[in-house]
């Protein structure tokens, strides 16, 4: 449909339509372009085109979830470069024009992420807390235990930080790219772009450190964090 604003989900390298994908506001997703470079779009409902900083967060969350679901479905079918959520164009034609304006960059990026998936590893640094009150025979005893625990915890956190850094670095050996997360003092994390062929080795590596508790691994996801941030018309 031309003339109506369209919502863009991802840059792709296929013109084969994905069956029955439902986009924002229930509109069907279509693919515009050719097998070298294309873009997945759907008609944008008016309430989405009017989103601004005063909008209902629940509406924005709904758009975020739909964006994620559509991009994930496209990702299962082939290489994708997810768009920033709420990317809108005047028409199919203007979406395709914008994508083609940065064609070489997008083609390179699509080749890079083809067959790869994004994984995130999060490692908590805080040790589990025992119930000191239950172990204490008196108030003074409790305070003594509390003081001892503070030193012990600081040491445990430093040890966990060292082991975690070692694990995150080892996992990077199986990845095409890594984005380190912040060290919040509570947790360290990293996000990886892992090729399909290395996924098993990557997972085995992340699971290999039995000294670290509660290592949290999520994935495989589309490469949201591994796309060209700025591309297209100047």
């Amino acid at each position: 449909m031309t003339g109506a604003p369209v919502y863009a989900y991802a840059v792709l390298a296929t013109s084969t339509p994905s069956p029955a994908l439902v986009g924002v506001g229930g509109a069907p997703v279509r693919i515009v372009g050719d097998d070298e470079l294309s873009v997945a779009v759907s008609d944008a409902p008016e309430r989405v085109t009017r989103i601004d900083s005063d909008s209902d967060p629940a509406l924005v969350a709904e758009v975020a979830v739909t964006h994620f679901e559509v991009v994930s479905a496209l990702f299962r079918a082939g290489a994708v470069l997810p768009m920033r959520m709420c990317t809108l164009f005047d028409s199919d034609e203007s979406a395709l024009r914008a994508v083609r304006a940065a064609a070489p960059r997008f083609r390179d990026a699509l080749r890079r992420v083809a067959g790869a998936a994004q994984w995130t590893v999060r490692i908590p640094l805080r040790p589990r807390r025992d119930d000191l009150a239950a172990q204490s025979s008196s108030g003074a005893d409790y305070l003594r235990l509390l003081g001892g625990r503070r030193d012990e915890e600081a040491r445990a956190i430093e040890e966990a930080r060292t082991s975690a850094a070692r694990l995150l670095e080892a996992a990077a050996g199986h990845a095409i790219d890594v984005e380190a997360g912040p060290d919040t003092g509570q947790q360290v994390s990293a996000t990886y772009l892992v090729p399909a062929g290395a996924a098993d080795a990557f997972l085995a590596c992340v699971r290999s450190d039995t000294a670290l508790r509660d290592v949290d691994l999520t994935g495989p996801f589309p490469p949201f964090a591994f796309v060209p941030q700025q591309a297209g018309a100047p």
Binding site: P5, V11, T49, I51, D52, S53, D54, S55, D56, P57, A58, V60, A61, E62, A64, V65, F68, E69, L81, P82, M83, R84, M85, C86, T87, L88, F89, D90, S94, A98, V99, A101, A102, G115, A116, A117, Q118, P195, A196, A199, D200, L203, R207, D214, D216, L217, T218, G219, P220, F221, F224, A225, V227, P228, Q229, Q230, A231, G232, A233, P234
Partner: protein
Amino acid sequence: MTEPSWSAASSNAALQRPQAAGLADVLELVLDKGVVIAGDIKINLLEIELLTIKLRLLICSVDRAREMGINWWESDPTLTAGTYGSDGKGGGSDHELARRIEELERRVGTGRSEGER
């Protein structure tokens, strides 16, 4: 699987469907991420940045409060469903918001139930 916090299966993992992710996971994946094409965009990117900050705060505060067992607003009729908001904006949205967040969480899967986070 012995480790409850693993959310990925072992073999051919990269080819499998993404595991059910909670709303917080989805937002973490989507917000501030993705290709930015300058030019034809109608929504101001700055507006989106502000919104993502709001969303993060909302998700953090609701999750954290529930974790701590604070949910008094859910049973207070003056703080739920359309009884305030004489300014006409966002009036009574807390209850509706919670309902819609639950609905969204259902849509993206059951989330990780093991009590991490």
